[in-house]
C-alpha cells in the first residue's frame, strides 16, 4: 500500500522504464558487433558499388563501427584514386542488405 501511494505521489516511474532504456542501449551494441566474415562481405560489396562511380584504393579501405554511449555509426574510410568521367547519371540496380546482424541497431 505504501508503495502504491509513494508511486501515486512520486510520479508513475516504474523500474521497467529503466530496463527498457538499458536494454535499448545494450542491444545497439550487441547488434553492431559483426563477425569478421560479415565485415569482409560488407567491404567487398562496398567496393563493388563504389567502383561503379570512382576508382578507389581497395587495399586502403577501412570499415569500422564507432560506438559511443548511446549511438553506433558505421565509419568507412575509402581513399579515392580518381573519379570516372561522365558519371552524371546514376547506374541502375539498387541493392539493400537485409538481416538483423547488419543493421546498426534500431533507430530511435
Amino acid at each position: 500500500m505504501f508503495e502504491f501511494l509513494s508511486k501515486l505521489f512520486g510520479g508513475f516511474e516504474g523500474s521497467k522504464n529503466r530496463a527498457k532504456e538499458r536494454l535499448r542501449l545494450v542491444l545497439v551494441h550487441d547488434r553492431a558487433s559483426l563477425s569478421p566474415g560479415l565485415v569482409e562481405a560488407l567491404k567487398e560489396e562496398l567496393i563493388e558499388v563504389i567502383t561503379k562511380y570512382m576508382e578507389i584504393d581497395e587495399e586502403g579501405l577501412e570499415v569500422n563501427f564507432d560506438k559511443s554511449d548511446d549511438s553506433v555509426a558505421l565509419i568507412a574510410n575509402i581513399p579515392v584514386k580518381s573519379v570516372k568521367r561522365g558519371m552524371g547519371e546514376a547506374p541502375g540496380g539498387k541493392r539493400q542488405s537485409k538481416g538483423r546482424g547488419q543493421q546498426g541497431g534500431k533507430k530511435r
Partner: protein, 266 residues
C-alpha cells in the same frame, strides 16, 4: 510431411523445456501426432517434465550411432500413447557426440512419421544450439520480461537468421500482470517494440506450473490453470487457428471483482 520446430532462448531458465512439453502435449490433445526431442546432451530434463524418466532405455545418441532402431528409442506418453512420443537426450556423453548432419538425417526420418517434431534446445549458442537448429524449419524463441532474457532472445533471433531460420515466433513466459500494471515489468508491447517478431503466445506466471512439473504432468492438461490455457491457445495457433492473445489484465480484475462480490476477504 510434418513440421520441425526448434524451441530455443539463448538464456537458460526461461522455460524452454516446460514450453516444449506443454506445446507438444497441447498439440497431441488436438489430435496431432507429435514427437518431442531433447537435444540438451548431458543435461536432459524433458523426460522429467513429461514424467517419463523411468521409461528410458535408449536415447538420441544410440539412434544416430545406429545402436538401436529409432522406434525402440521413442518413449510413449502416459496419456496420449503413440500420438505423443519423446526421444530423450543422452545423459552421460560428451556434448559434441552428435553432429548437425546426424540431426538433419534424423529429422528427415521423424517428419515422415509425425505432424510436429519439437526440438528442445539447450541454453547457449554453441554446439547444442547448432544441433537443435540444424534440422528445424521453424523456430520458437522463449523469453521472459527480464532484461537479460530479452537481450539473449535478440541475439538468438540474429543467429537463427544466420542459420536461415527466418521469421521465428516469440513466446513471452512468466508474465506477472500486477507488476506490469505497476510499471515494474516490461509489458508485451514493450518487448514487441524491442524484438519486433511475431508473438505466438503470452504465458502468465503460474504456480500450477511448479505443481504440474512436480507431478510430471504438463500443465496444459489442467483445465483450470491459466498457464495451461495459454499453452492450449498456442497449440491452436500452431494449427493455424486465429486465437487472440490472452488478456491477462482483464481476467485479473474480473477475478478481483468476483472475490469482492462473494465476500471473500483475502
Amino acid at each position: 510431411m510434418g513440421k520441425v520446430i526448434v524451441i530455443t532462448s539463448g538464456k537458460g531458465g526461461v522455460g524452454k523445456t516446460t514450453t516444449t512439453a506443454n506445446i507438444g502435449t497441447g498439440l497431441a490433445a488436438l489430435g496431432q501426432k507429435v514427437c518431442l526431442v531433447d537435444t540438451d546432451i548431458g543435461l536432459r530434463n524433458l523426460d522429467v517434465v513429461m514424467g517419463l524418466e523411468n521409461r528410458i532405455v535408449y536415447d538420441l545418441l544410440h539412434v544416430v550411432e545406429g545402436q538401436c532402431r529409432l522406434r525402440q528409442a521413442l518413449i510413449k506418453d502416459k496419456q496420449f500413447g503413440d500420438r505423443l512420443v519423446l526421444l530423450p537426450a543422452p545423459q552421460t556423453r560428451e556434448k559434441d557426440a552428435v553432429t548437425p548432419e546426424q540431426m538433419k538425417e534424423l529429422m528427415k526420418e521423424l517428419r515422415e512419421e509425425y505432424d510436429f517434431v519439437l526440438l528442445d534446445s539447450p541454453a547457449g549458442i554453441e554446439h547444442g544450439f547448432k544441433n537443435a537448429v540444424a534440422g528445424a524449419d521453424h523456430a520458437i524463441v522463449v523469453t521472459t520480461p527480464e532484461i537479460a532474457a530479452v537481450r539473449d532472445a535478440d541475439r538468438i533471433i540474429g543467429l537463427l537468421e544466420a542459420a536461415e531460420l527466418y521469421d521465428p515466433q516469440l513466446i513471452i513466459n512468466r508474465v506477472r500482470p500486477g507488476m506490469v500494471r505497476r510499471g515494474d515489468m516490461m509489458s508485451i508491447g514493450d518487448i514487441d517494440d524491442i524484438l519486433a517478431i511475431e508473438i505466438l503466445g503470452v504465458v502468465p506466471d503460474d504456480q500450477d506450473i511448479i505443481v504440474s512439473t512436480n507431478r510430471g504432468e504438463p500443465v496444459v492438461t489442467n483445465p483450470k490453470s491459466r498457464a495451461g490455457q495459454a499453452y492450449r491457445n498456442i497449440a491452436r495457433r500452431l494449427l493455424g487457428e486465429e486465437v487472440p492473445l490472452m488478456n491477462l489484465e482483464e481476467r485479473k480484475v474480473m477475478h478481483w471483482f468476483k472475490r469482492l462480490l462473494s465476500g471473500e476477504a483475502q
